[in-house]
Amino acid sequence: MARQRKHPLVFWVSALPPSLWLFGFFLAPLAIVWVLSFGEKRGLIDVEITWTLANYVRALDPLYLGVVAKSLWISGVTTVLCLMIGLPVALGIVFAPGRWKPILLFLVILPFWTNLLIRTYALIAVLRTRGYVNFTLEWGADTLGLPFEPLALLYNNAAVVIGLVYVHLPFMVLPLYAALDRMDKLLIEAALDLGASQLRAFVTIVVPLAVPGIISGVILVFIPALGSYLIPDLLGGTDSQMIANVIERQFKRANDWPFGAALSFLLMYLTFGALAIRSVLAKGDGGLEAK
């Protein structure tokens, strides 16, 4: 690596275009939103920047605080469910015979390559009142001669959680797999030889060794889940709106840009907070993280 002063021309030719783009078309838009969040609405589209904190204070209103709490709750439940499903799945892949490993990993990643909107739409077709789940249940009830009432599986909080787990599961399985695959399997064998039960070996050996993977997985699921827009929009009901949906409403329907700007910066601060927690935890586990 060379100092930039040694080859100023090469440095500036390669640094300038991407930097200009980054500042002009990414950091500048963010800065505008930030400034806007301290503005006051005047008329339909006019905003006056008065450096007021009113928009942030308004975000503390119980109504919006409730939305923030709900978003944290929904993404928290999603993360826990992903961990509960992801840990056995990762363990299963780690201990699978060699030739099965890449196939199983591929099967975990493949859905992740398909468009988020289309996966959400596919879930609607499965969960709706006239969807495949209800259809299967009706068919089952009919054969048994039982009365059948279609279940309301869609447009509620449970549907949002199902959707979020469905979309974010690979983010949990992959880091868990990476952490567990490095684990020395002889440790488990030794524990079992010394008389530990399978459960005890799992709790005292597998889980502690999976901690770096658990931290990465939790952050990788929690952050995008917290900011998700499409899934609560399409699968949720009127009371399952998350922060992103409220932000969208301020910009597209309510037309209150300063308030929407303040909310979107609050969401960004929450994201950075989660990332900061991750880097602190990763430092504590530095030895493990670096193999």
Partner: protein
């Protein structure tokens, strides 16, 4: 490592969790959960029934219908045009970023690296909102003729794609042998000749993989596009979204299947190239 593997194969011990019925059940249930929705979506795009629930025989009429839907085709052409343009720009900017970060030390470099990865980590909604406000505030002209009306979307796509290209190309450059560049310089090559004849050829697989990644990111994006597109500039995912809001129809299934096939193919290609380059680097 080898010895341990062999020892396990001879002695099917208590560690072969994958042979246990409960583990197989968990794996099976997870994969059923992951695949049933997409599989039914694809299957029912060929179903000869509007009701979309009972199988009534094979047909491709919904693909013909989707092809005859002018709005859908227009949105598809828009999406492809945006993807090509934004991929092209992202490759150039991403390669420059990767090269600069790889080659030079400069003041505040960690801060700069953080700023480059920011588009990857911030919530999509925040970026979408930022783009909406930005183009409104600077008075970006609206109502331009095609393809200029897609400019805003293409710019937004470049902003979130080129950092991904930079990450991929940077990883590729890590395997570049600096002695090659030194040898070239000793033989009298200037900075530009070293770039053209040694660095860029080495980058090429990374550029290709990064470019394919940028292409699928652009083709797939809904949230950010949703905030930058106007009524005159609708992309494929935005169009599908408006159709999905109305109802579940086989026509949407057909359109979705086409998009899934394209993005899966392109991603598989990108991964294959990356795999090949990493095994080359090892070998």
């Amino acid at each position: 490592m080898k010895v341990r593997h062999n020892a396990r194969r001879i002695q099917p011990g208590p560690l072969e969790y994958t042979r246990r019925a409960w583990m197989r059940m968990i794996l099976l249930a997870t994969f059923v959960f992951l695949y049933t929705p997409i599989a039914t979506l694809v299957a029912f795009s060929f179903n000869d029934s509007r009701r979309n629930i009972v199988w009534r025989g094979f047909t491709t009429k919904y693909y013909e219908k989707a092809l005859a839907n002018d709005g859908l085709i227009e949105a598809f052409v828009n999406s492809l045009s945006i993807a090509f343009v934004s991929t092209f720009i992202s490759i150039i900017l991403g390669a420059m970023t990767a090269f600069m970060l790889w080659r030079f030390r400069f003041p505040l470099k960690p801060l700069y690296e953080g700023a480059v990865t920011l588009p990857i980590v911030i919530p999509e909604i925040c970026m979408g909102v930022a783009m909406l406000v930005f183009f409104a505030r600077i008075g970006w002209p609206t109502g331009l003729p095609w393809p200029l009306n897609l400019g805003q979307i293409a710019i937004a796509h470049v902003s979130f794609s080129f950092p991904f290209v930079a990450v991929v190309v940077r990883a590729r450059l890590a395997s570049f042998n600096p002695e090659i560049a030194e040898a070239a310089r000793d033989l009298g090559a200037g900075e530009w000749a070293v770039m053209r004849d040694a660095v860029i050829p080495h980058m090429r697989p990374g550029l290709l993989a990064g470019g394919l990644l940028a292409f699928t990111l652009s083709l797939d994006d809904f949230v950010i596009t949703f905030f930058t597109s106007g009524p005159e500039s609708v992309t494929f995912p935005v169009k599908v979204y408006s159709m999905v809001r109305f109802s579940v129809t086989p026509e949407v299934n057909a359109a979705s299947t086409v998009l899934v096939v394209i993005t899966v193919t392109v991603t598989a290609l990108a991964l294959w190239i990356q795999n090949k380059q990493s095994s080359e680097a090892r070998g």
